[in-house]
Amino acid sequence: VDLWIDLPVAGTSVPLLLVMGIGVLVGGLSGFYGVGAGFLFTPLLISIGVPPVVAAASCANHCVAASASGALAHGRAGAFDPRAVLLLLAGGLLGGTVGVQIVGWLREIDQADLAVTLVYIGLLGGLGLHLLRDSVLELRGEKPVCERRASRRLRPPLLPRLLAVLPFRVHLRRADVRTSALVPVTVGLGAGLLVAFTGVGGGILLVPAALAIGIPVHLAVGSALLLVCLSALNVTFQHAALHGTVDVLLALVLFLGSVPGARLGAWIGRRLRADQLRILLAVIVLFAGAKLVADLVLPPEAILVPVGGGPR
């Protein structure tokens, strides 16, 4: 079907069904594995010709839509720690703002696409190798590396000991955890930077970090979702208002694909063993990273590129 959609901000046209297909695929992976696979959106969009900066900023916009419902549900149910969210948000807003400014500066020297691509190569490479290693271990019937490390610990692990000596102690009442305010602020800062550079919500960073400081799972997930939504909202607004890199249509089409995709993925997930198929996600992630590496390393088809990735 020869259906194309003009992307007014990206300055390009893309096959409509292909973009929706990307939404279905990534949404399906999220629904299937029960974790966000939003980090695949941007590389896939880059591979079909969307400029990297526009792809990342538009994915942040998609992230607002994708997390809004979950954040509201957790907010209403009180499944979050208010103080943790405030501290995370302080870091997230700062990180997002700083990240958007850095991306803006990189755009001025026309190297933002390279920076976004390099960040993604690191992200996908690290994540893909981690997933692949754990998948292989699970297929062999062995425990994942993190669990083996935890079971071997004879003395208190390094991270809690480090966290215990940090200043600015606060009590996260609902989670009943005492920690340094620097920890959630720093984690939020990292998540904000991640959203600004990659359009990834940061749940993949926030939930483990919240668990690491002792916040219970249900509060960790709720707090992370709230932060993802608000941080993505901040980054979307700034990217759109300051740099004009958010393509609303692109985000909307992605979302229209990802919602049924998530349903489909969840349906499949109830019928198949996710642990055995996690290796598939690892391969997809590594393949997406390898494609970005190939684009940067292999001789290009054309030696000239338009400035700013705009109209050719």
């Binding site: 390009t12 839509a65 919500g201 979307t236 349903r263």
Partner: protein
């Protein structure tokens, strides 16, 4: 392939020999509107010619200046390097032949001029080839397939990235070693009103556009969440459907 690449460098602007007679040139439509969802961007061009004649159709987009960067090696990476500016570059160029692809030797034999892609001095050789390669890689320049038809015609397919503006469609009818007829028609390519509105909002009222972007995302997300919730109550698991790729 090399011949095809060479042809991309050619722009027929008229014969230098006898003045050709006007050739009738019919277009299936005079205006192409680029909407949100454009199914077809094909314009059929038709002319008349005596049996045995060869016909060259050409579609040229509006010219504009273009700033590019030349990629250079930095270690193992290809990174953006120096800026190269081109003035007066046709945004789109498609060449179609009938009953076959236009032959390079035909164009050369008739001493047809090449329109330079850049007026910048020193940009006529390798730089022009690099520019054509970039345009070709993005699908803006190309040679269209021959049309299997009894009458001289070509299907001019506007590329996905075709910019709006006034395009020119020309036809040259060649008999033996002579261009015997030539014709020209204009084709208007414009964006739909909705597309223009979105674009204008993003460019001229960025804060408003940004606000609309986040509000739309929130609205669509909450609406989808409500719908998914309703479906979940009918038996699906809600926990796994809350995240659609965050």
């Amino acid at each position: 392939m090399t011949g095809s690449f060479g042809l991309l460098l050619l722009l027929v602007v008229g014969a230098t020999a006898d003045e050709p007679r006007p050739a009738p040139l019919e277009l299936s439509r005079d205006t192409v509107v680029l909407g949100l969802f454009q199914g077809s961007r094909i314009v059929r061009a038709t002319t008349e010619a005596r049996p045995g004649a060869r016909v060259v159709f050409r579609l040229i987009g509006p010219t504009a200046s273009l700033r590019t960067r030349r990629l250079r090696r930095l270690g193992v990476l290809w990174v953006k390097g120096e800026v190269r500016r081109f003035r007066s570059v046709p945004s789109v160029l498609r060449i179609h032949g009938w009953p076959e692809r236009p032959r390079r030797e035909d164009l050369e034999r008739h001493r047809l001029d090449w329109r330079p892609l850049s007026r910048r001095r020193g940009a006529e050789g390798p730089a022009r080839r690099e520019l054509v390669a970039m345009k070709r890689a993005s699908g803006l320049y190309g040679i269209g397939p021959s049309v299997a038809s009894a009458e001289p015609s070509a299907e001019l397919r506007l590329p996905a990235d075709a910019p709006p503006g006034t395009y020119v469609v020309t036809v040259h009818v060649l008999e033996g070693e002579t261009v015997v007829a030539a014709g020209e028609r204009q084709l208007v390519v414009r964006r739909s009103d909705a597309m223009n509105a979105v674009r204008d909002l993003a460019q001229h009222h960025p804060a408003l556009y940004a606000l609309a972007a986040v509000l739309l995302a929130l609205g669509v997300g909450l609406l989808a969440g409500r719908l998914v919730g309703l479906l979940a109550r009918k038996g699906a698991s809600p926990a796994r459907t809350e995240s659609a790729g965050t």
